[in-house]
Amino acid sequence: MKTRSAIFCLGMVAILGMFAVANPAHAQDKLIKIGGLFPMSGPGAYFGAQDKQGIELAIEQFNKTGVNGYKLEVKFEDSACSPLPATQAAKRLLEQYKPLVVVGEECSDATLAIMPVMEQAKVPLLNAGSSSIKITDPGNPWTFRIMPNEVMQGVDIATHAYKRLNAGTAVLLYENTNAGIGNAKVFGDTFKSLGGQILADIGFGRDVNDFTSIATRITGLGKVDVIPTYTLEGQGLRITQALAQAGVTKGGGGQSIQLGTIWLPFGFEQKAGKASLGYVRIVQFDPTDKREVVQDFIRTFKAKYNQDPTHINAHAFDQILLIADVVRRGATDAQSVRDIMAGTKNFSGVTGSVEFDKTNQNIKMDTIHYMETLPDLSWKALGWN
């Protein structure tokens, strides 16, 4: 009886062993584990929902053939766009899932909070949506950013406002966060250095709901040419509507042009309605871009989700595209992912191209695309970069 049991056990072990060999995707050493830290709850949750779509699409595509014999796998944690939950989520992810690379967060405060955790664990963090300069200046060797930082964005948008829109006066509107304050400061400093005048500098908390009072204050400031606005989508919608109701912006019959950031997703104009008329903002992804990588992305995204992709979908997709490229170039562990990623040059993604400087900041400006809202709530690409 004992002999028969032993033979049975040996047989089972042999079968399981053969099964493991026949399914290399399940072998631990042929899997690139990617951690995803994104806001899935709270006011920034729309980022997480769209990031997840872009990442899952990219992974599905790469896993059809594999990359250098590796499959990609992702595990998401809710980092809630806020430092404390982001830190907790990062630690949980590192301890339990043990990823080789982590993508995220979107909000600068959260990204800044998780950076030291990732550095300590020696796991690279690839960021695509946080703009605070502090992320890469001074930054740390384990954090990479593929989007232009607040200085690159702020200088660019202030220069275009002054030179292309002939703006002489501006009011700064921003949420009181690292990214909000930093973006507004860079815009203000650049605009003033060019000869423009900042009429008011208005910061507010994320708990502010009614922006009628802020719009009223702006009506008393005289002629305001541009209103650079740094907020998440929800507050951004209400600000745009309040400014139009008060007759400040073009959408309400006024003269001011609102300037926006990549924080706002596509579809913002449809939600804000006529109030968004004449709104000029930067996005990370231009769907009219004829490059094959862009058109392929749009086609496959529509096929999978039955909707048009947003620039948040696009920059999330690009994060996986870049990781796959790094794996293709020979990365097999966290250290080699970091080292090979640092040497990235001439990478071409959906949002634009990537080349990291010595602080791991992408230096390419073709990831900034300017759009203007038209009367029918569609937008046109301004082609300023």
């Binding site: 949750a45 507010f204 709901n209």
Partner: protein, 294 residues
């Protein structure tokens, strides 16, 4: 400049009216049960979503959606009290129902997140873009006019209910002394249920009117509730008249802080006032014995 100051006064009254609607429910529950209801914010959010779906998915009238939200709030209040709070109160602990309100809040938020998703909804009432020009260059939107009108009517009806109806008097009796009221033939449990229903109905209705102003996500109510708690404390725990005055006061403080200081300092100003009230006038703006509050 005088136009801007006047306009900020109008803005403050509108904002204050909204805060009053949310805070009244909180103060009613506290007045009767001496219980803080952390789930109140989520009833506001559900009211906003009820109005949104009634208007945009079912093509209903926005004004009718306010009544729908009121009804949804009332039903939710009844359900939550019957299923969770009442059984916990029967165990005799004051702490259990308080903790349960936090649990209900988290539960409701996550159920809404599951059903409605995290992306903000664009809830515009047909009156949001109707700008009515007033004297001296000031204006008010149709939506804000509705907010002031509905808030005033609601406050008047609630006041009349509490002062002149048998049920209102019974509610005040339960607030003063639950056991003695019971000896007089009043069923305190029915009155507590009524309190939850009225408070949640007010929250639901508040949500329908806040919807076109709030950033409508499953977490929308939480941005208002902290202010509402402050108003309840400034007005005097459980004091309806104090809550109304405090709500309007906070609305005006917010508007004028935005105008003359910075909106980023609103919370500092409001919560400094709250701390001063706690330190120097803990009974609230209208000093009464707690037993007589409701």
């Amino acid at each position: 400049m005088s136009t801007v100051i006047l306009q900020q006064g109008i803005n403050g009254v509108v904002l204050g009216s909204l805060y009053v609607l949310v805070a009244l429910g909180l103060t009613l529950i506290y007045g009767v049960l001496v219980q803080i209801n952390f789930a109140h914010a989520d009833v506001v959010t559900i009211g906003a979503f009820a109005a949104y779906f009634f208007t945009f998915t079912f093509g209903g009238n926005y004004l009718a959606s306010i009544a729908v939200a009121l009804l949804v709030g009332a039903i939710l209040g009844w359900l939550v009290n019957a299923a969770i709070f009442a059984p916990l109160r029967e165990r005799g602990s004051e702490l259990l129902p308080l903790i349960a309100t936090i649990g209900v809040s988290v539960l409701l938020q996550n159920v809404m997140l599951l059903w409605f998703g995290p992306i903000p909804y664009a809830f515009d009432s047909p009156y949001s873009n109707q700008v009515i020009r007033l004297w001296g260059g000031t204006f008010i939107t149709g939506q804000n006019l509705i907010i002031i009108a509905v808030s005033t009517l609601t406050i008047a009806l609630l006041y009349a209910f509490m002062k002149f109806t048998f049920m209102g008097k019974a509610l005040r009796a339960v607030a003063q002394d639950r056991e003695t009221a019971g000896l007089m033939g009043i069923n305190p449990n029915h009155l507590i249920m009524l309190t939850f229903v009225i408070a949640s109905a007010l929250a639901g209705m508040g949500g329908a009117m806040l919807g076109p102003i709030l950033v409508l996500t499953p977490f929308a109510g939480t941005t208002v509730i902290v202010k509402a708690f402050a108003i309840v404390i400034i007005g005097g725990f459980g004091n309806v008249e104090g809550t109304i005055i405090a709500g309007l006061l906070v609305g005006l403080i917010e508007s004028y802080t935005t105008q003359f200081v910075n909106p980023g300092l609103i919370d500092i100003v409001v919560f400094t006032l709250l701390l001063m009230m706690l330190a120097f006038r803990p009974t609230g703006l209208i000093a009464e014995k707690r037993e007589e509050n409701v």
